[in-house]
Every structure is written in structure tokens, then in C-alpha cells.
Amino acid sequence: MTRASVVGAGMTEFGVHEEPLAELFGEAAFGALDDAGVEPGDIDALYFGNAMGGQTENDTHLAPKVASHVGMAGIPAQRYEDACATSANAFKNAVEAVESGRHDVVLAGGVERCTAETGLDTPAMTRIFGSASHRQYEQPTGITFPGVFALFTKRHMHEHGTTEEHLAHVAVKNHANGTRNSKAHFGKEVTVEEAMEGPVVADPFRLMDCCPFSDGASAVVLVSEDSADSFDAPVDVTGVGHATDVVPIGDKETPHVTQAARDAASEAYGQAGVSAAEVDFAEVHDCFTGAEVLASEALGLVPDGEGGFAAAEGRTARDGEIPINASGGLKAKGHPIGATGTGQIVELTEQLRGDAGAHQLPGAGTGVAHNLGGDAATTVVTVMGVRA
């Protein structure tokens, strides 16, 4: 079932940017508008994501601010915040808006700055990222976000035999993929040995297991299925699943299975009428290498317990049976929090159009995006396909 169509996609390079949030967002937004062949006055509503601007840059009430910057003041503009799943949630609401007929043409996107350009150093940013863990029942222990995913990954290693070398293979794969993507934060290959010799951040994660702090923006123009044919290159959104899980970690039934991802995937696959076996490629939320292992299993792309083995055996490489993160993923493409979710939609759109340049995958007909927030308690899974 087609729920909406993406008719324009744009993003900045992910990396280090000195421009303010509105200017960064403007670059991605105009990229999407130009791609769709529409003007700011054609946009009926803005679904905007920014996770941490209030904490990082003392900058809030951003929806009308960025709308004003790109010539869209006056329309309904709303900001979403769901930690790292921020702009996937903005996207979900944009899909529903055009699907329901409430709006005809909408813009969904997000922006974030996380690098030292904000004026914040690593300890300060580590504290801000940690605000997504439970304020009363987790933060006092000194847990960090690498630590949160380390807790999940350690349990997965205990139960399934996943190894630190498996994790290193995820980093090596995604860095290699990133060298083909001109928008990626990192364009340098790493070896398993280099990855396994890096300094420990939160064991089992070393530096190369962790995505970078990135700045960037991404945006897509969405229209209803009925009006998509009047645009040059529509790509269909066939399923969007959104689920949550219990916070804090201790109260989740089985933390490392990332149940919200399983629930969201089931919902999205059901809407799209596809099974995991019919997915040609996936962009998953590899904020840490272990997170990709968990996501590949939660999406049903590899059997439970085999995510680490699959990465090490090349089954998730760009020439493997199910390519995961051909863009480089968060690990190499970068992770500007509020821009990451719609950044994945930009990637799916380009792959499905056959427009992904040096990192284009052959035979990309059905793609899946998996964007999680916080301790995976928010997950949005999107299925997109080539327009029939």
C-alpha cells in the first residue's frame, strides 16, 4: 500500500559545519525543493526535527524560526523531539498529513549540530546525549550513551557469542561504504586491527565502534500518492511503523531484543505487504556497531543471534545477501541527531531512483530505514519502494 510519495530529497554533507541551524536546514530544504521542482510558497506544512538545540545552542522554538528562514512563515510548522529518532517521527507525521488529505505538499526534515562548533566539548556533549537515559533511575549511575548500547551489546555477546571482532567488522564495512558517499562525515577505510586497537569508550566499544559527533541537515518533500505522478521522480512510502518500549532499561522485558524495533518493523512490513526476505537493502541506526547487530536481527534481515556473524562473514556488505548501511551508516556517514532519520529517507530515495552515485546498489527495489531514539525505546521503521 502506498501511503505517500517522496518527490524531492536534499541533505547537507554530514560533518563539521560553522553555519547556524537555520542556514544548515535551509541548504537541505532548498535541495529538496529544487529536486521536487517546487517553491517555498508551495509547501503547506513543515514537519521539523531538532533534538537538542535548547541544550546545545540555547536555541528553541525552532520550527517557525527555520520556516521563516526558508520563506515558509505562516504555514503550520511543528518541531519533533524523540532523541535520535527525532526526524523519523517528523517524517511519520508528514506521511500521515498527506495520506489523510489534510495537506497536499509538505516538507519533513531535521537539523542538528553536535561538533565542537557548538562550543561544547566531549564531556559536555556526552552529558547532553545522556539526558535521553532515565533522569532519576539511570543518570545518577553515570551511564553514558555508549554505555547504554554497551549494556545491550554485552548481553547479546553473552547470549549469542557475538565477539568484539564481529563488532569491528561492522565498523570496517561501514567505513568502507562511507568512502563511496560524498556526503559522508568520514571517507577513510579502517582495518579490523585498527578498530580493535582503539581506546575504549565503554566496553566492549572502542572509538571505532562509535559514530561521530556530526553537524548536518536533511529534508524531503512529500505528496499524496494521487498527486505524485505530476512530479519527475516520485518514490513511494509503503509502510511506516512507530513503536515505543519501556524506559528505563531495567524494566524492559529483554533489553537487547529492542522490542520497539520489532514492533515497528512488523507494522511497517504489514502496511507495505512485504516480508523481511523481500527487502533489498536497509539503512539502520548504527550509532554503535552493536546497535547495527541488534537492528539487523530486529528487522528480520538476519536470524536472531547471527547479526555479528553476518557482518563478519560479509553477508551485510554492499555485495552481500542483504546490504546494510551502504551509505556508510551513522558510523561513517555521520549522526547529526535531528537530521539522521530523514537523512536515511534521502538515502532510500536516491537508491530507489538509481541516483546514489558511487554507492548505488544494483537492483534496489525495496528499501527499509530503521531510526531509533534513546535506549531504543522509540523506533520508527520505514519501507519504501520504486513506484510501480
Binding site: G130, Q139, G142, G147, R155, P199, D203, P204, G250
Partner: protein, 155 residues
């Protein structure tokens, strides 16, 4: 986060703790058991005196380690405060080498600890522990605004 650690006072008996919190109008209504309705305040007071309180759901059986207004699994509002064991085992753990601003130390271990039917996140002191190892509550650490978090040590 100050990173300071506190040692639990002598554990109070449930009756003593109850009379203290039960007479406080800010503690809210009594729950069905003889323990206080579990809020961040009553949970913190208990932790500072060496006890771990949780919530049991009579409708679905879930035992939560963190206070809530309703059962996180089934939505029941009939949850009851329960005493959790102060010994348990490591469910999963990590050692944090890059701490957040406000934590002066590095290389500290954080674990999710299985205490009876519930799990809680806590800091570990003493020897580094691995999954399955037995722990006992040893006090508490304090974070921002002096909020306490459980501190465990190898049993």
C-alpha cells in the same frame, strides 16, 4: 553529577520506614501494602537507608524496579509497592571510560542488576564484575541534584 558515594544508614525496618513516610503529607496515599506509594521521593529515601523498593502489578505480574504511576507493561493502576532484595546478580555491565561532564572519575562500572524479579541500574564498586556474578547493595552514588543511584559490590 558529583560522583560522590554514600554508605547506607543502618537499614530501617519496614515498619519504621513506613511510619516515617506515612505521616508525611507529600508522600501521597498509602498503597495496598504497608509500604508507601512509590514515588521518586520514597524510592530515594529507601535507597538512602539501604533498601530497594519496586512495584508489583497484581494484574499482569510485572515487577518494576523504577517507580511509575501505572504498570509499564499492562497499564494497571493497582500496582503495589514491594521490597526488592538487596542482593542479586549482574544481568549486563559496562565500564565507562569517557564520562559525562560532572563526573570526575573514569573507568567506573555500571550494571543492570537482577534483584529478584526486577532489574535496576547501578554503579559497581570494588572488583570488576561479569554477567552472572552475585552482588549486594553497598550504598548509593549521587548524581545531579543529589539524586541517588544504587551502588553495588561483589557479594
Amino acid at each position: 553529577m558529583s560522583g560522590t558515594e554514600g554508605t547506607a544508614d543502618e537499614p530501617e525496618t519496614p515498619d519504621e520506614a513506613d511510619s516515617g513516610t506515612g505521616s508525611d503529607p507529600e508522600s501521597g496515599e498509602e498503597s495496598g501494602s504497608d509500604l508507601p506509594v512509590l514515588t521518586h521521593r520514597t524510592w530515594s529515601e529507601a535507597l538512602r537507608s539501604g533498601r530497594l523498593l519496586g512495584q508489583s502489578c497484581p494484574d499482569c505480574g510485572h515487577v518494576a524496579g523504577a517507580p511509575k504511576a501505572a504498570c509499564a507493561r499492562c497499564g494497571s493502576r493497582s500496582i503495589e509497592t514491594v521490597e526488592l532484595p538487596t542482593t542479586g546478580e549482574v544481568y549486563t555491565e559496562t565500564t565507562v571510560m569517557v564520562p559525562p561532564e560532572g563526573v570526575e572519575e573514569r573507568g567506573y562500572q555500571v550494571a543492570v542488576v537482577q534483584v529478584g524479579e526486577a532489574r535496576v541500574m547501578g554503579r559497581i564498586e570494588g572488583e570488576t564484575v561479569t554477567i552472572g556474578e552475585e552482588l549486594r547493595l553497598a550504598g548509593y552514588v549521587t548524581g545531579e541534584r543529589n539524586d541517588p543511584g544504587p551502588l553495588f559490590e561483589p557479594a
